[in-house]
């Protein structure tokens, strides 16, 4: 076991607490750099989606994980970023400009959503953000002169400094990876400075934060703006990746997917956003696989256990009907959320920490280490 001997305040400030971190993140980075030249184009495409979802996850983590303000409207922020890109692209605006414009515009909208949200907490805030997402969805469908309504908009191939960057090529992958890494570093910087601490303070006790001199309203709006801005940046990349956008892509289900990203990853750390994104992107091909192959497998099992040919065919068609039922995906997402909230509230990253601690302390690990304890009743009086 490693014992950290701190001799300088710098030891608590730096991003990599010790050389072990540098080594493991170095290996990860090397793998990610080599990846597009080794992996199949399908996997690279999945990795691009992981980067985009993880970027949104980091944005949502700032708002929900660190400031404690739930949001089910992040699909709308993604849409605003995506549509800004598609719209400005028509006027031959260069990529860096509309990329930043997408982020900025979304940040402004995020701040505007933040103001009415100041007076709301918990479930009411969730409802407010859902309504905001519906409004945006409706505006996108109706404002045809700008958004082309339900016909959607075609997004041209990205061109960066005169070079075409196709959305399936390695350059686009590196662009998304770069955006993700910069977002993570920026967020980590924020978290180790007064603003990040003010966010956490608001999450844990607004009364105490206020009496410590934190302007709670201002920081909530800031949190909304930063979170939305990051999501907007991801939206620009999202538009390019899909090369076609229409209002029905940015529905409540997408917002729920973002919640899944942070909930399943673990809402207390940025690692969670990345792990959650990997989980979510990888579960989709898995579900498709189940849908295609599960009926056959079950029919095969039924046949092995003596079911007749007709019965087996019957079973197969029944299972196939269930597997391709409308809204099954949403139901499965719901089950996943419930299971995680019940059995692994700290998410995948929490599980990883437990495994790590198990090996670090072997054979002294005890389960109670991660048990949530409630020692005293918090004052509700000053709410």
């Amino acid at each position: 076991m490693r014992f950290l001997f701190k001799t300088d305040y710098e030891d608590d400030i730096r991003l990599f607490p010790h050389s072990g971190y540098v080594v493991s993140y170095g290996i990860l980075l090397a793998f990610l750099v080599v990846a597009p030249f080794v992996l199949s184009s399908y996997l690279i495409s999945q990795l691009v989606f992981v980067c985009i979802y993880a970027t949104v996850g980091v944005g949502l983590m700032i708002l929900t994980g660190f400031t404690g303000q739930a949001s089910l409207g992040h699909a709308a922020f993604l849409a605003i970023g995506a549509y800004t890109a598609a719209y400005l692209q028509q006027y031959n605006v260069p990529f860096p400009v509309y990329f930043l414009a997408g982020g900025l515009l979304t940040a402004v909208v995020g701040a505007l959503v933040g103001f009415p949200a100041l007076r709301l907490q918990g479930i009411y805030l969730v409802i407010a953000t859902i309504s905001f997402a519906f409004i945006v969805e409706e505006v996108l469908a109706r404002w045809e002169s700008v958004t082309h309504g339900n016909e959607g908009m075609r997004v041209k191939t990205l061109s960066l400094f005169g070079q075409a960057v196709p959305q399936n090529g390695p350059t686009f992958y590196f662009l998304c990876l770069g955006v993700l890494i910069l977002t993570i570093v920026g967020t980590l910087n924020l978290l180790r400075s007064p603003t990040g601490r003010a966010f956490v303070a608001i999450r844990d006790s607004e009364t105490a934060a206020r009496s410590m001199g934190v302007n709670v309203s201002l920081y909530k709006v800031k949190s909304f703006a930063i979170s939305a801005g990051i999501t907007g940046l991801a939206g620009v990349l999202f538009a390019h990746k899909l090369s076609f956008i229409s209002p029905e892509m940015f529905t409540l289900q997408l917002s729920i997917e973002f919640i899944i990203v942070i909930l399943i990853g673990g809402t207390f750390s940025l690692h969670g956003a990345v792990l959650g994104a990997i989980f979510l992107v990888m579960i989709d091909p898995f579900l498709t696989y189940l849908k295609d192959d599960l009926p056959g497998i079950i029919a095969g099992i039924a046949a092995t256990f003596g079911a007749g040919k007709d019965t087996a065919a019957n079973v197969q068609s029944n299972v196939a009907a269930i597997a391709s039922a409308n809204g099954l995906k949403g139901a499965i997402y719901g089950v996943i959320i419930v299971l995680f909230v019940l059995f692994e509230p700290l998410g995948l990253y929490g599980r990883w920490l437990k495994i790590k601690l198990f090996f670090q302390l072997f054979p002294l690990y005890k389960r109670a280490t991660f048990k949530r304890q409630k020692i005293y009743v918090k004052s509700e009086r000053n709410r």
């Binding site: 007064p194 105490a208 001199g213 009743v377 004052s379």
Partner: protein, 252 residues
């Protein structure tokens, strides 16, 4: 010309007069305790001063400035820090980041500088850290630096809350029942620290307290409240002998 002054302060919830035209003054550098039975309005007075509640009527002055209309988050900026009766720490953060939030009123860096973590942010962070470290040493909290609050015992949390208030380098500190939930030994420590606040750090202390031994040990003056009104004011022994105070606690 007083350091801190409350003028005819009232707080009514409908017909209930939680605080009923209370006036008192705090001299610079003294320790003033507010005592009274449960529901006498002690904590309400604190919540009025830290602007969690707006007063129904009356005014509050600090250093000859009217702070009655100041927003709550600016009270800390003026140099008034407080602790809470039921502890309001940031549960899911380490003690260190809790204390660093106490430094919030001294932070000067801009958001974009923080995103890039420019050298000036780094330098500010180290400076914050240095002054937090002084408070940690003052209150003997070295062991708990990187511990999460949610895993710490009640008595330690109480001290950490005092530490967080001290990190903001206040001129006036409001202590809401500093000894509640502490054992005899911890209460003893607390009384020494409160004395040190006054003598070593020159901080003026306004304190709500039930433990009369602590009140007697540290207070310069005592105010007794009952039903939102001041019933006695003076030295600890005077107030304890005052017939109205005796009646309030024991019944007439």
């Amino acid at each position: 010309m007083t350091y801190f002054r409350a003028d005819n302060l009232s707080l009514h919830f409908g017909g209930l007069k939680a605080v009923d035209s209370v006036s008192f003054a705090v001299e610079k550098g003294e320790i003033l305790s507010i005592i009274g039975p449960n529901g006498a309005g002690k904590s309400s007075i604190f919540n009025l001063i830290s602007r969690i509640y707006p007063p129904t009527s009356g005014k509050i002055f600090f250093e000859d400035q009217d702070i009655t209309e100041q927003p709550a988050y600016e009270i800390a900026g003026l140099g008034i820090a407080r602790t809470f009766q039921n502890i309001e720490l940031f549960e899911n953060a380490t003690m260190l980041s809790n204390l660093l939030v106490g430094r919030h009123r001294h932070s000067t860096t801009q958001l974009w500088q923080e995103l890039l973590f420019l050298p000036n942010v780094r330098a500010r962070e180290k400076a914050h850290r240095r002054s937090v470290e002084q408070v940690i040493e003052f209150l003997d909290l070295e062991v708990y630096r990187d511990k999460l609050i949610s895993g710490l015992p009640y008595g330690v949390r109480k001290v950490i809350e005092l530490a967080r208030a001290l990190c903001s380098e206040p001129k006036l500190i409001l202590l809401d029942e500093p000894s509640s939930g502490l054992n005899v030994e911890e209460t003893g420590d607390m009384s020494f620290w409160i004395r040190d606040l006054k003598t070593d750090l020159g901080i003026t202390v306004l304190m709500v307290e039930h433990d009369m031994s602590l009140v007697n040990r540290v207070s310069d003056r005592v105010i007794a409240l009952n039903y939102g009104r001041v019933i006695a004011m003076g030295s600890p022994s005077e107030v304890q002998r005052h017939p109205d105070v005796v009646a309030a606690y024991l019944g007439a």
